[in-house]
Amino acid sequence: MKNSLKAMMMSAAVTGLLSGSATPIHASTLQGTQLGQLSSASATFLGADKDKHACKGQNSCKGKGGCKAGDNGCKGKNSCKGKGGCATDGSKPPAA
């Protein structure tokens, strides 16, 4: 790449970083946002298509680790149901 073009590219990258640092994006503006709305540039980098929301409502365990550890893993497949066999010491459930 020619030096002059290279210098222009570097300058463009740094200018983009500087302008981006002043205006962080929030979720409310992310969906359906096109880059043309965020930038005066006519370029379409990362903005040709809107972001697609992929898992709304499934984030209650985000950041807590082990998202699968606490839910009901044997729901509907409880092979010991009604046999009183789950207790490992052979004890019987208390009378109702």
Partner: protein, 297 residues
């Protein structure tokens, strides 16, 4: 080894032993020994269940938990290969890639290379199945991979050609010959709608129809990323994808820019504006960081 540790190991081996095709405990272990005799040696029977039957409860629960977790993580893969084939695929995968982590989050971590080595489990849709599995694993990673300190505004002034930059771990990149993003969103929307319908039904017995939703053939490049605790799929231009791939490999700023426009159809005159817009977005989203931030302490 203490007798307790030995007992724990014996129990773990018995509980984690793969089930039969009809989802019951195997009568014989891999060495042909009787599992019932083994169970008798360390599990007490009670007045209702034999030692073998008591072991079977835990053996089955263990595998049912793995199956439900895997199914939950890969609904798109299931939709492409079909339920019956998916069950075979899942059992074969889990037998060769058993859970080795404290969290089931990592259960599907080897699915893509495994499918590449075992394409027969996804035939005749192997290519789209691998693409979908890659997206679904990327989704899991984007969901809870780390967010490192993003590139700070005051660090920009000191950037030079040879400065290395890195992509945040919560941004995962996908190149796929199929529109797997649209297909997966449709599958999840469908499942959500079915779930809502089921929860509203009091007495009606609903039979869920798992209609196949195979993705259209279309070359796409995606960033799968997390923003404010929600995962998004963002289509990228080829140049954007190349740029981010370079940052993923901790390229220098200069090398990343060169990589972005390799085989690009964008005219040279338009490239600076394209780049400016690109870097503005990357900064706004906090997708870039310094490689030192990605190093383990």
């Amino acid at each position: 080894m203490s007798s307790l540790a030995q007992l724990q190991r014996q129990m773990a081996t018995a509980v984690m032993r793969p089930l039969t095709r009809s989802e019951t405990t195997r009568q014989r272990d891999a060495n042909g020994r009787s599992v019932a005799a083994e169970a008798d040696s360390f599990i007490k029977p009670n007045d209702r269940l034999s030692s073998f039957e008591r072991l079977e409860i835990y053996n089955r629960q263990y595998w049912f938990r793995l199956f439900s977790s895997f199914e939950e993580d890969f609904p798109g893969l299931r939709s492409i290969v079909g339920s019956r084939r998916f069950n075979r695929l899942m059992r074969a995968y889990l037998e060769t890639n058993p859970s080795r982590s404290f969290t089931l989050r990592n259960l599907g971590s080897s699915i893509v290379p495994w499918l590449q080595q075992n394409p027969q489990y996804a035939e005749p849709h192997t290519e789209s199945a691998i693409a979908m599995a890659a997206l679904e694993w990327a989704h899991i990673e984007a969901f809870d991979n780390a967010r490192l300190p993003p590139l700070a505004p005051d660090a920009i002034a000191s950037l030079g050609d040879e400065t290395q930059l890195a992509l945040q771990p919560f941004v995962r990149l996908i190149a796929s010959p199929y529109a797997v993003d649209d297909a997966l969103i449709a599958i999840k929307d469908n499942a959500h709608a079915a779930g809502t319908q089921a929860s509203n039904a009091v007495t009606l017995h609903l039979v869920r129809r798992n209609r196949s939703r195979r993705p259209k053939r279309e070359q796409i490049h995606l960033a799968v990323h997390r923003h404010e605790d929600t995962v998004y799929y963002k289509r990228l231009a080829f140049e954007d994808y190349q740029l981010l791939r370079a940052f993923e490999a901790n390229a220098t700023l200069s090398d990343a820019i060169d990589a972005a426009f390799l085989d690009s159809s964008i005219a040279e005159a338009d490239r600076p504006a394209h780049l400016q817009s690109a870097f503005q977005y990357l900064m706004q989203m906090g997708w870039l960081c310094l490689p030192s931030a990605t190093e383990q302490p």
